[in-house]
């Protein structure tokens, strides 16, 4: 399969008045087209920092990050970023929220707008198009946030703990929806999470990061059927085995 994203010996040093910190060291991995990769690691190891580097928002101190063979330099627009909170703008309607990326990237035209509205319709949010975000439930808002992310047709989705602000029940169902949407739209995704079961339930591959400085400790190819939904995976007997394996390895990493 074609590799869409590659990190090659990436390192990052943080500077602050009191000193410098090696946040990321010698990190290499790649993501194939259509793949769903989850990154887990000890808390504070810099998982989000890695995403920010991939998105070109932080420049790595060493190494190269390439998207489609081109080195990422700035947020040139091939990424869709989904954050912990939906970050919908309260003064914009849902319709105006999902077309925000088109405005920012100056690609707002009939075709792209129709694509975004089509997504709203496809995923059951059409009747809320003219509502304001605070009229929607948390789960619906997060789905709108995903559609906003998809509106500019990104090559790569970066998901930074996108479900962690939701309550457990909603988290499972939104995770289910997001997984389905990402599969149906055939998007490549990198998910950062601290929730092992979430990682196992959505990812094709899980990357375990070491504690600071962050590097790739281990990779696991999760051998579920690609189209098995997160909830179905949770019911699968192998789910437990994966969970326990990752749990143990993550604990070892925490104790280092």
């Amino acid at each position: 399969m074609k590799e869409i994203l590659t990190l090659d010996k990436v390192g990052l040093i943080y500077h602050s008045p009191v000193g410098e910190t090696q946040a990321v060291k010698n990190m290499s991995f790649s993501v194939a087209e259509g793949e769903f990769v989850a990154m887990i690691g000890p808390s504070g190891c810099g998982k989000s920092t890695v995403l920010n580097m991939i998105a070109g928002l932080i420049k790595p101190s060493e190494g190269k990050i390439k998207l489609n063979g081109e080195e990422v330099s700035s947020a040139a627009g091939k990424f869709g970023y989904m954050l912990q909170r939906d970050e919908l703008f309260p003064w914009r309607t849902i319709r105006k929220n999902v077309t925000l990326p088109l405005e920012i990237k100056r690609i707002k035209n009939k075709e792209n707008e129709d694509y975004a509205f089509g997504l709203l319709k496809k995923y059951g949010l059409k009747e809320f198009a003219d509502h304001y975000p605070d009229q929607l439930s948390g789960g619906m808002r997060q789905r709108v946030a995903l559609i906003r992310t998809l509106a500019a047709k990104p090559d790569l989705l970066l998901l930074d703990e996108p479900f962690s602000a939701l309550d457990y029940q909603t988290r499972l169902s939104v995770c289910e929806d997001v997984f389905r949407i990402i599969r149906e739209e055939n998007k490549t995704s990198v998910l950062v999470t601290h929730d092992i079961s979430e990682a196992v339930s959505v990812a094709d591959r899980v990357i375990l990061l070491s504690s600071r400085p962050a590097a790739v400790r281990k990779e696991y190819t999760v051998d579920f059927d690609k189209d098995l939904s997160p909830l179905k995976r949770r019911e699968d007997p192998r789910f437990r085995d994966w969970f326990e394996l990752l749990w143990r390895d993550l604990n070892d990493e925490n104790e280092r």
Binding site: Y81, Q84, E87, P90, W91, L158
Partner: protein
Amino acid sequence: MKTKDEFSREHLLYLKRRRNDKIFVNCARVALIIIFLALWELFYRLGAIDGFIFSAPSKIFKSLVNLTKTGELFKHAGITLFETVAGFAIATSIGTLVALALWWNDRLRRILDPYVVVLNSLPKIALGPVIIIWFGSGTKSIVVMTILITVIVTTITMLSGFTATDKNKIFLLKSLGAKKPQILTKLVIPSSLPTFISMLKINIGLSWIGSIMGEYLVSRAGLGYLIVYGGQVFKLDLVYAATLTLCLLATGMYALVSLIEKITVGKKQTS
């Protein structure tokens, strides 16, 4: 939700209690001012208070009627209103623009920070003599005084509004490739709208302080002038008449901003 004709007896009682409560509050409000004015007038008529020093509602009313007849009231009120509105508009614009510049350029903000602090704590009235020498003893000086009193607070309020913009939303825009002008127009300005409205409300009060204080210092016309003049010649009814007009004008201006708030901010920006 149930419609009106399905309401339970209990709910109807609840609605009635609510309505009665509202009526009581409104009546009490009106009664309070009527009783106050009536007692004032009564004590004056009975000779319990000296009308020369304390004036009386009837005297104030007569004075207001006289001032209206001669057209003096409109002249003075008009002058003060002009000074206030001009100072308000100029100070609000300058203050907001300066705040924008300081938001845009963080280094500039850090350089100017101590100056802003000093200017903010300085009692602007202390600059009165300098202003008079520079701008003469007329409307110009008063407008300048109004601007000075209002502009720093505007800058500080708006800057804190701009910098309080949600960091995560800025991050989101940056991840979409947004540059500073887009962050400003798509996010910072719309999200600062509530701050802007509350700043307008503060500024109304400050502008009136500025214009009246300016008129106390230098003027030959205006409501502030009427008040000072009335005090000097012991025409207390004139002082009260001018103060009352001032109250009405200030309240009117405040109501206008509240209306603007309702239209622009509306319901949608509750979160």
